[in-house]
Amino acid sequence: MNDERERTSALRGRTVVSSTALHRLAARLVADTAGVRPAQVTVRLSDDRGALRATVSVPVSLAAAAPLSQQGERLRDALIRGMDRLAGRRVAAVDVRYAGVQRERRRVI
């Protein structure tokens, strides 16, 4: 009984991250990594057998020198790591779709 009380007091309340917040966070992570404005990024999150699956649509930034396949890999990595670090969510898969081109590099912070 005593043991029980200790355990519940350690877990008082719960932290909720809303779906909107998750989408915004993911869009920001992608935008920061790709060097584009967050408004140009669309992220759709869905459930993939208990884990998250992100479908990202992002414009190609001409300021970045790396080939697209490498950029995509970087995006994937950044999103998986950022979601784990900031929201505590495991992202199992990231689908990156490049759509459109952004000419100048503008960072909005």
Binding site: T8, L11, R14, S46, D47, G50, L52, G88, R89
Partner: protein, 188 residues
């Protein structure tokens, strides 16, 4: 135990099992009516011409019915159905979704739904989930706990089991929980 204990045991049994009084009364009443009608008709037919007439007509109708295979088979089917229902009522344990226990001074009778709610609340609190993500149904000797996880967040299955056990034992009941984590999660 004292006589109090016996009373408690009887009351608990009565409250946790369905009463068969209603079907028994219905069956008895129907049989009684049929016997009375048959007897009354026989007596009336023996005393009076009108009664003999009515008895003759009833007999004709019955004879027609016996000759007609459709009426016969429908009657047989209905009778079989009633028989099966009555057999089921007589032989099934007839447990209600409640469980009871008696301590030295008090008897406790709890609806399964109440226990299930208590377990679900405890599991949700332990796993940091919303209450609606946990569904608990109480089986006879088992608590089925189904958890819909948050996408990308692992569920502490062991903790959920522990929470269910402790919630039940706090109320004085024991039903080993069977925890299922649903494959499809929700975003938040």
């Amino acid at each position: 135990m004292t006589s109090e204990g016996n009373v408690y045991r009887r009351v608990l049994r009565r409250e946790t099992h369905a009463s068969r009084t209603a079907p028994a009364v219905v069956v008895a009443a129907v049989l009684l009516l049929a016997i009375l009608a048959g007897g009354g008709l026989t007596v009336w037919a023996g005393l009076d011409a009108g009664g003999r007439d009515l008895a003759g007509r009833v007999g004709a109708v019955l004879e027609d019915a016996v000759r007609n295979p459709v009426v016969l088979s429908v009657t047989a089917a209905v009778a079989a159905l009633i028989g099966i229902v009555l057999l089921g009522l007589a032989l099934s344990p007839g447990r209600r979704a409640r469980r009871g226990r008696a301590t030295g001074r008090a008897a406790l009778l709890v609806d399964d739904g109440v226990l299930a709610d208590a377990v679900a609340a405890a599991v949700a609190a332990r796993c940091g989930l919303a209450r609606r993500q946990v569904v608990v149904t109480m089986a006879r000797r088992r608590a089925d706990v189904r958890i819909r996880p948050i996408s990308g967040v692992a569920v502490d299955e062991h903790g959920a089991k522990e929470a269910a056990v402790s919630a039940l034992s706090a109320l004085g009941f024991s039903a080993p929980p069977a925890v299922t984590i649903l494959p499809q999660g929700v975003l938040s």
